[in-house]
């Protein structure tokens, strides 16, 4: 049997120390654990990066992040996500000529979440009137992005438990058991489909965007007419799923980069 992973043990010890007392300095942590400052610094820095620990601006002490304590979905600011992701989301729109959206869950306790938020939205190449949808809500059970977040986000199962799906079109799934089955299907195939469920003559495809350790923090989707997005048999266009996955990988890197 392989032994324990030492750095995980140490990270757990640091989290335990911070949960007992906030605002500890690096020196406190290192003497409390009998480890060198540089070892502790490396672990704390990683915990800050993954959003478990925050550094207080004044004094530089460390504390556990609110989002972890309160079962909230995000560690990163929704506007920062857009700034980091924009090159990839823009490029996806240029490549597919479809509208693209990056959707996240709001920074609230899981049981209070009833919709997703559009972090970034890029117009389709169509000449039709369009408006910037950034900041608007999306129906979690009806959209491709929403289904991906319910299926993959850390708080997805808790959100799904309290969700009361609202009908947007005649094709929206409003029966909770059918939504559950659709979310399971989304998880097993790795992408979400919206087949005129959130708006008529509109279809969507979305894939998860991962951050540190593989956690899903956003859903990246394209939207267009059903014939632009789906096959004649109402399946996902294989080419679009490939382009989405590629853009999602790039977005993940952008979200995790220390400097950007």
């Amino acid at each position: 049997m392989p032994g324990n992973v030492q750095s995980v043990e140490r990270a757990a010890a640091i989290i335990r120390l911070l949960s007992a007392h906030d605002g500890r300095q690096l020196g406190d942590l290192s003497s409390a654990l009998g480890l060198s400052k540089s070892t502790v610094h490396g672990i704390v820095r990683t915990l800050v990066q993954v959003g478990f620990v925050e550094q207080e601006a004044a004094g530089g002490g460390y504390r556990l992040a609110q989002s972890v304590l309160a079962n909230r979905p995000m560690a990163m600011d929704v506007n920062e996500i857009r700034a980091r992701a924009t090159n990839w989301v823009d490029a996806l729109a240029a490549r597919t000529r479809l509208a693209t959206r990056l959707v996240v869950l709001p920074d609230r306790a899981a049981h209070e979440i009833d919709a997703g938020i559009i972090s970034h939205h890029v117009f389709s190449a169509a000449k039709t009137p369009q408006h910037v949808e950034i900041g608007e809500s999306v129906n979690l059970a009806a959209t491709a992005e929403g289904k991906v977040l319910l299926a993959f986000a850390a708080v997805g199962p808790s959100v799904l438990e309290g969700l009361q799906p609202e009908a947007a079109t005649s094709r929206t799934l409003t029966d909770v058991d059918r939504v559950r089955a659709e979310v399971d299907l989304t998880r097993s195939r790795g992408y979400g489909i919206d087949d005129e469920e959130s708006a008529v003559r509109t279809a969507g495809l979305a894939v998860p965007v991962r951050s540190h350790g593989g956690l899903v923090v956003a859903a990246l989707g394209v939207r267009g007419t059903p014939d632009q997005v789906l096959t004649a048999r109402h399946d996902a266009s294989v080419q679009l799923v490939t382009l989405l996955a590629e853009a999602a990988r790039g977005t993940s890197h952008a979200l995790m980069a220390e400097r950007w």
């Binding site: 857009r82 700034a83 490029a91 190449a125």
Partner: protein, 499 residues
């Protein structure tokens, strides 16, 4: 098979990048390397031109490799560059004889101030379209020749060549000492303070005034024209364009018609308005410059206005005040309130640029009451970017005699959704953002592609422009006028040295 791509080199202030664009103007591959910033004395900024050329040779194969294509797939190369930065080198060896002296360098500040104060200063504007400021090339070149007289002697003997960065790179790309082509384009030359803006040629009186021997100067060519063929990594590929970065962005945004304006939001912000085939002389503090010249000789001029502090103000809120952890978070903070609570910020950190041109102005935060929170301040910071944009746009519109119909934007700050809405509200016109944010490189690629027929004409380029987002004005005229009054009052305080 015909080549499917055009390659751009963007020689910028902090890094050199190579970018590959496809027929649709979409970015397909990129390589990037930063170069050293050298600060020998306070106010001096230099680059190592040899390092920049070294980096250029590295990023080109990097960009091609990222896309998995060979040089045979490249139809043409265009070079965009930071403007006004120059270097001198030996014609026979290609060795630089000085550091590249960067546009940010203020060593010739006092000389330039003296010239500006002279009653004859209008002479420069009437010939070159620009005033004798330290960041244009000529005052720094003149300083160098005076500081190192041996360079003047060698220059007169014909041993030295001078160039802005695109000139240096094109000379090296086409063989260097072994047949390198020594050219600059009209847009870069228009920023040297040595070119006659009407004739698009070196002005003998300006050369004499700054003591610049003509033998060291490159030949001025159109922005879009095959000037030579590359050797080395890009062997056989035509070098088909050169353009200054801001003019490149104007072209990349396809602002081809008179009256069309783009604004690039970075640390500062640069607005350029295409003014058509004739020079428009500003009576509102704008600079006159060349927008581009095509191979057939057809040309467009532009008015340029700059804002010293835009994104830099957000960096100050982050680093100086510690109100946000990252720059984009300012939008989150600003959205905690509905308005600025009467607070106005004017970021005249080192004076004000267009249209005020006051180096003595200092920043102001006005309308402070105990009601004002960090959120109000964040909002006032973003509003100041919008109102500074408006000041420049209004001055340009007055000079050009045409009102603005819409504003095309690019640069990092365009991901700030709230700011883009504010700009639209304040200017009262739609604000448009394209999907290709790398407009500088795209402009150089377009100019190069046009020269070799990769793109047939400018109409095709127009169709490549894909709208990523559009913000339409929502602010009532009444609210806009209130904000305008508060902004004007704060500007007046800024210009008053006693504040």
């Amino acid at each position: 098979m015909a080549p499917r791509y055009v390659l751009s080199i963007d020689q910028g202030t902090t890094s050199t990048r190579a970018m590959v664009f496809d027929q649709h103007g979409r970015l397909a591959g990129m390589g990037q390397r930063e170069h050293r910033q050298i600060f020998p004395q306070p106010g001096w900024v230099e680059h190592d031109a040899a390092q920049i050329w070294h980096n250029t040779r590295r990023v080109i194969p990097q960009a091609l490799a990222e896309l998995g294509i060979s040089v045979a797939d490249v139809a043409a190369v265009g070079v965009a560059s930071q403007r006004e930065t120059f270097v001198l080198w030996e014609r026979d060896t290609g060795r630089p004889v000085c550091s590249a002296i960067v546009w940010q360098d203020t060593r010739s500040h006092q000389v330039a101030e003296g010239l500006l104060a002279d009653p004859g200063a209008d002479f420069f504007r009437s010939r070159a379209g620009i005033p004798p400021a330290a960041y244009f090339t000529a005052p720094r070149l003149s300083w160098l020749m005076a500081d190192r007289p041996e360079l003047r002697v060698r220059a007169r003997r014909g041993e030295l060549l001078m160039g802005t960065m695109e000139t240096w790179l094109i000379w090296n790309l086409t063989g260097g000492p072994d047949g390198g082509v020594h050219v600059t384009d009209v847009t870069n030359a228009s920023r040297t303070l040595l070119m006659n803006l009407e004739q698009l040629d070196w002005d003998p009186e300006l050369l004499e005034f700054f003591g610049v021997p003509e033998s060291i100067l490159p030949t001025i060519v159109p922005s879009s024209q095959v000037v030579g063929t590359a050797v080395g990594a890009l062997a056989g590929v035509p070098i088909a364009a050169a353009v200054g970065d801001q003019q490149g962005a104007l072209f990349g945004q396809t602002c081809f018609e008179a009256g069309e304006v783009k604004c690039t939001y970075g640390t500062g912000a640069f607005l350029l308005m295409n003014t058509g085939a004739d020079v428009v002389t500003s009576s509102h503090g704008m600079l006159s410059t060349v927008a581009y010249q095509l191979a057939d000789g057809s040309k467009a001029y532009a008015l340029e206005g700059s804002i010293a502090v835009a994104g830099g103000l957000v960096q100050w809120v982050r680093d100086g005040l510690g109100l946000v952890r990252t720059a984009p978070e300012i939008e989150t903070l600003a959205r905690t309130v509905d308005d600025s609570g009467g607070c106005v910020v004017v970021p005249a950190f080192t004076g004000l640029f267009s249209p005020y041109w006051s180096s003595g102005a200092r920043g102001v935060i006005s309308g402070l009451t105990s009601f004002v929170t960090a959120g109000h301040l964040a909002r006032a910071v973003l509003e100041s970017c919008a109102w500074q944009t408006n000041d420049v746009v209004e001055a340009m519109a007055a000079d050009a005699g045409v009102p603005l119909k819409s504003l095309r934007v690019d640069g990092g700050m365009t991901s700030n959704h709230l700011l883009m809405q504010m700009v639209s509200d304040v200017l009262d016109v739609p604000v448009l953002r394209p999907t290709t944010s790398e407009t500088v490189s795209l402009g150089a690629a377009y100019l190069a592609g046009l020269a070799v027929g990769f793109w047939s004409d400018m109409k095709v380029l127009r169709r490549n422009w894909h709208r990523a987002g559009q913000w339409d004005p929502r602010l009532s005229a009444e609210r806009r006028d209130q904000q305008r009054l508060a902004w004007r009052a704060a500007i007046d305080r800024t210009l008053d040295v006693r504040n």
